[in-house]
């Protein structure tokens, strides 16, 4: 091998090293801000959604995704793209949702996913913060035998696979050995089979059970929610962990909605706050400071979220609240100053 050839060989090896390093970087490490740029350029947010039923997330008769989680997608789209309808809803199943996010098929997962350690440690995913404090419960047929869960005798329970619900039920069986799980791949299959009386109980998050009561086509009074709550289910949006700028956009969109409720700013009365001299209101609405810009957005980001989607309380009440068929009191999801757990760090 002559000197020139040997040097060429060396250079090509070195270039291979470069290629490998770049490829590795490209695959594993996203540039901060990448997701925000993608969403802006595409002009739409790809939001992962799962059919949970009325109030939470479902497709209405016009083919529109509606519900609490669909509204969170719209809030982020309003902040980022400037249009609450600039959302491409990507329907997913429980067993594909995390892979879809990790594989960059969606920008945001906004459905009733429980925030747990196992789902964010070493997975490349990060939960942005609890949006809905829930807990796992049981729905029974109103005309079936009643009483405490323990005293019901041998009882079958419809449950969806690949959920924290399934794992909690397995845990709960140590306390309630009379329960036997009947496992379905999807939540809607579990619901249907419960309605068809293939099992005595249906278990899921209490919000999802409230929704299941409405989905049978029969009177909701045919079903009762049992008092037992067997778990904590803090439900949170989820993003990839390699793009902290995007993580901030999602978590502060959520916090802006809470801050708006604290200040009494709604989609209907927002304009009356544009002359406010409360510095916290002024910063939230982008009337002073540069908080929007530091998020990579513009001054009006939070104004759009509130105007197009509403504050946290409006979104809750519209989809889940006492005046909807779901009829769920705020409870733990009331503001911290009103006895609940909903709290946002200051926009300052």
């Amino acid at each position: 091998m002559n000197a020139t050839k040997r040097r060429m060989n060396a250079v090509s090896r070195a270039l291979l090293v470069v290629a490998v390093l770049i490829a590795t970087a490209g695959a594993g490490i996203a540039r901060a801000g990448e997701t925000l740029e993608r969403v802006r350029q595409a002009g739409e947010l790809r939001c992962g959604a799962i059919e949970y039923g009325t109030g939470l997330s479902t497709v209405d008769s016009n083919g529109q995704w509606t519900g609490f989680w669909a509204d969170m997608c719209r809030a982020v789209a309003a902040a980022v793209v400037g249009d609450a309808e600039a959302v491409h809803f990507v329907p997913l199943a429980n067993n594909t949702r995390f892979a879809a996010l990790a594989g960059k098929a969606i920008d945001l997962l906004s459905e009733s996913t429980t925030w747990t350690l196992g789902r964010e440690a070493g997975t490349g995913l990060t939960f942005t913060g609890t949006m809905l404090y829930d807990g796992q419960g049981f729905l029974a047929h109103a005309d079936s035998r009643r009483g405490e869960l323990k005293s019901l005798g041998p009882t079958t329970v419809c449950v969806a696979d690949a959920t924290t619900t399934m794992r909690n039920l397995q845990d709960a069986i140590r306390t309630y050995p009379n329960l036997t799980p009947v496992v379905f791949i999807t939540l809607s299959a579990a619901n249907e089979n419960f309605h068809l009386r293939k099992c005595d109980l249906l278990t899921s998050d209490r919000t999802a059970l409230g929704s299941a009561r409405l989905s049978s086509g029969l009177s909701p009074d045919r079903y009762v929610l049992l008092p037992e709550v067997i778990s904590k289910e803090p439900l949170s949006p989820l993003v990839r962990s390699d793009d902290p700028d995007w993580f901030n956009v999602v978590r502060w969109t959520h916090f802006a909605m809470i801050a708006a409720e604290e200040k009494g700013i709604t989609s209907a009365n927002l304009d009356s706050f544009l002359g406010s001299n409360d510095p916290e209101v002024r910063r939230l609405l982008g009337l002073e400071g540069t908080l929007g810009e530091s998020l990579g957005l513009d001054r009006d980001w939070a104004q759009r979220v509130i105007r197009m989607v509403g504050n946290y309380g409006e979104v809750y009440d519209r989809n889940l609240g006492p005046h909807t068929p779901m009829a769920l009191e705020r409870g733990m999801n009331a503001l911290w100053s009103k006895g609940g757990l909903i709290y946002a760090p200051p926009l300052r």
């Binding site: 060396a10 845990d171 904590k232 902290p244 200051p346 300052r348």
Partner: protein, 346 residues
């Protein structure tokens, strides 16, 4: 052969480095944990906030709520609660020290705000102490609440969120307040003590602490009932290492979960035979969650043994049985009327 390609390889490496990260800020996920483990110590940024919160005792040991959180993370990550190098910082430089990689963790009564994490390269792990800004007055003055005070001078730390809040107040609803900023906590507190200002303003926890440093009867000072802000105090990390972010936020959540389950520093080793699956996962008896975090199965048990559960930590430094005398309030568990909540270890 080796000599023949070393030159181009160096060039290639430089080119690659330039292409991957122009600012040199791209950390590998897990880098901080590796550094802490290899060096055998956690570099934890702290500053003097007074007794209960953060202070040095007569032997030079950092004690208080915030230093103990450093110890909990060190116990989880480095295997030893004392594997902490406390790095004393001044308030104006603390965020820069973290950004510049001079520390691994900032545990310093820092208020979590949007402006401090958007575009800054930093991330707040989660609120560990819900606080709010209040005012300390001399008990022999006429001040009983903010409404009743006339034209008054207010001493405040110039690089704190307290400064912004009191300025907001002075510029809007309370023009009777004259803001007097200080760079040093000690001089600020002394100035109040020497009556160079009528009120001292800071987080409520910091005022309770300041009251103890004056060497006088604490009853000579009164905390006014007005709370003018939300101050969610949080641990802070860099935002380019999500694995480390997880280690820190879940160490905090472990302490909360331990309180929910009645596991304390003293009894943590007596649950080996527990059949409660949540306890078994928390204590690493099943589930393997420590490994998923890049740690080992004993991580949570070490943290609990080192500093106790969240309630023990609070009560030891800030609680009603201490000179600080602060009720749990918002910092009570969610099931008991407070805001302290942890996602499940599952």
């Amino acid at each position: 052969m080796i000599h023949a390609y070393r030159g181009p390889l160096i060039v290639a490496t430089i080119v690659a480095a330039a292409l991957i990260g122009p600012d040199g800020g791209e950390a590998r996920a897990g880098e901080t944990l590796d550094r802490v483990r290899q060096s055998g110590e956690l570099r934890c940024g702290v500053s003097e906030h007074g007794p209960g919160l953060t202070t040095e005792d007569s032997t030079g040991r950092w004690i208080g709520f915030w230093p103990d959180l450093c110890r909990a993370v060190a116990a989880a990550a480095a295997g030893d609660a004392d594997a902490v190098r406390f790095v004393p910082l001044a308030a104006p430089t603390r965020f820069a020290a973290l950004r510049d990689n001079a520390i691994d963790l900032l545990s310093d009564s820092a208020t979590w705000t949007l402006g401090r994490e958007a575009g800054t390269g930093l991330l707040f792990a989660d609120t560990v102490l819900y606080d709010g800004q209040a005012f300390l007055a001399h008990a022999d003055s006429t001040a009983r609440d903010l409404k009743s005070v006339g034209a008054v001078r207010v001493c405040v730390d110039e690089s704190s969120t307290s400064m912004h809040n009191v300025q907001d107040l002075a510029q809007s609803t309370h023009p009777n307040l004259t803001v007097m900023p200080f760079a040093s906590l000690r001089i600020k507190n002394e100035s109040f003590y020497l009556r160079k200002c009528d009120l001292l303003t800071s987080d409520r926890t910091a005022l309770a602490s300041a009251r103890l440093t004056f060497g006088a009867d604490v009853n000579r000072f009164v905390i006014l009932p007005d709370i003018i802000s939300k101050e969610p105090l949080s641990l802070v990390v860099r935002n380019n290492d999500p694995d480390w972010f997880n280690v820190v936020r879940w160490t905090h959540f472990v302490l909360v979960t331990a309180e929910e389950k009645g596991i304390t520093a003293a009894n943590a080793d007596t649950f080996q035979a527990s059949s409660d699956p949540e306890i078994r996962r928390l204590l690493g008896l099943e589930g393997g969650f420590g490994t998923a975090l890049g740690l080992d199965d004993e991580w949570a048990r070490r943290a609990i043994r080192a500093v106790g559960n969240y309630g023990e930590l609070y009560n030891r430094h800030l609680g009603p049985g201490t000179p600080m005398g602060l009720e749990r309030g918002l910092n009570e568990l969610w099931a008991k009327g407070g805001l302290i909540y942890a996602p499940p270890i599952r």
